[in-house]
Amino acid sequence: MMNCKQAVRLMSDEMDRDLPGGERFALRLHTLICTGCRNYRQQLSFLRQACQQQVAANDATPPSAPPAA
C-alpha cells in the first residue's frame, strides 16, 4: 500500500509526466482514502494556477480570479 510520502512525489510527477497505469492506479486508491493527500493535490494545482496568474496570463491588473478550479 502506498504511503503519503510516496503519494506526494507521484502527485508532483503527474504534473510533469504521464504516470504509468500501475502508479496511477495506486495513487488513485491512496487519494480515495487519504484526505491530507487529496488536499495536497488540490494545493498543487493551486500553485500552478498562481504561477500562471503571476505571469500575467490575462490583461487584468491586479490579477483577477480565474473561473473556479
Binding site: V8, N39, L47, A56, S64, A65
Partner: protein, 215 residues
C-alpha cells in the same frame, strides 16, 4: 481594455522624444508598455535573482515589442504578448549563463531529508503536517498581500530549486527542455520540482493560509 483611447479624457504620459519619432502605433504602445514596466521588472528579478540582468531582459523585451508594434493588432492582449517576449528573453539569459565558461551550478537545492519531519516513520503525514483544506484559495489572487507572500515564499526556495521550478511553471518549459538546458537527468528534474512544490506549499500554508494573514 478600450481599443482606442479618448485623448482628452485620459492622462497619457507624454511620449518621450524617442517614441515621438516612432510610427503612431508604436508611440501609443510605448506609453502602454511603460505602464507594465515595473511589473515586468519584478517578474524578471524573481526569475533571474539579479537586478542588472533583469533590467536587460525588460529593456530587450520592450524594444522587441516596439519593433513589432505594427504587426500587433489586438491591443487588449498587449500585456500577454509583451510578457511572452519577456519570458523568451529570460530563457535566453539563463541559457547564456549556463554556457559561460565561468558558470557555476547553483549548488543550493532542497535536501532529501528536509521534509522528513512532515512524515511519520511509516511515511504517512504527521498529525499537524497533514495538509488542511485551503477553502477557496483562488480568492487570494485578488489580494495584493497574498502576492507579496507568494514572492517571499518563492525567494525562500534555494536558487537551484527555484530556477527549475520557475522554468517549468512560469516560463512554461517542458521538463525535457529544462533537463537539456541545465544538463540534468529527468529524474533529478522531477525530484527538484517535487521539492520546490513541497517547500512552496508549506511556506504558503504557514505564511498565508493558516497564519491568519489571509483576509
Amino acid at each position: 481594455m478600450p481599443l482606442k483611447r479618448a485623448e482628452s479624457t485620459e492622462q497619457t504620459p507624454s511620449p518621450s522624444s524617442r517614441s515621438r519619432s516612432l510610427p503612431p502605433a508604436a508611440a501609443t504602445i510605448a506609453a502602454e508598455l511603460a505602464g507594465f514596466q515595473r511589473e515586468m521588472l519584478r517578474f524578471a528579478v524573481l526569475q533571474l535573482r539579479d537586478q542588472a540582468s533583469a533590467e536587460d531582459a525588460v529593456q530587450e523585451a520592450m524594444l522587441a515589442a516596439l519593433q513589432g508594434a505594427d504587426r500587433f493588432g489586438e491591443r487588449a492582449k498587449l500585456k500577454t504578448w509583451v510578457f511572452a517576449i519577456l519570458k523568451n528573453k529570460i530563457v535566453d539569459i539563463i541559457r547564456r549563463r549556463v554556457r559561460e565558461p565561468s558558470y557555476q551550478e547553483p549548488a543550493e537545492e532542497i535536501d532529501e531529508g528536509d521534509f522528513d519531519p512532515l512524515f511519520r516513520a511509516n511515511g504517512h503525514w504527521q498529525g499537524d503536517s497533514r495538509p488542511a483544506d485551503w477553502g477557496d484559495p483562488e480568492k487570494s489572487f485578488e489580494n495584493q498581500r497574498f502576492w507579496a507572500v507568494f514572492d517571499t515564499c518563492l525567494n525562500r526556495l534555494p536558487a537551484g530549486t527555484a530556477r527549475v521550478f520557475m522554468m517549468r511553471e512560469m516560463l512554461g518549459l517542458e521538463t525535457d527542455e529544462i533537463c537539456e538546458e541545465l544538463s540534468m537527468s529527468s529524474n533529478h528534474c522531477w525530484v527538484v520540482l517535487h521539492r520546490a512544490r513541497m517547500g512552496l506549499r508549506v511556506c504558503l500554508d504557514q505564511k498565508w493560509f493558516t497564519s491568519g494573514e489571509r483576509a
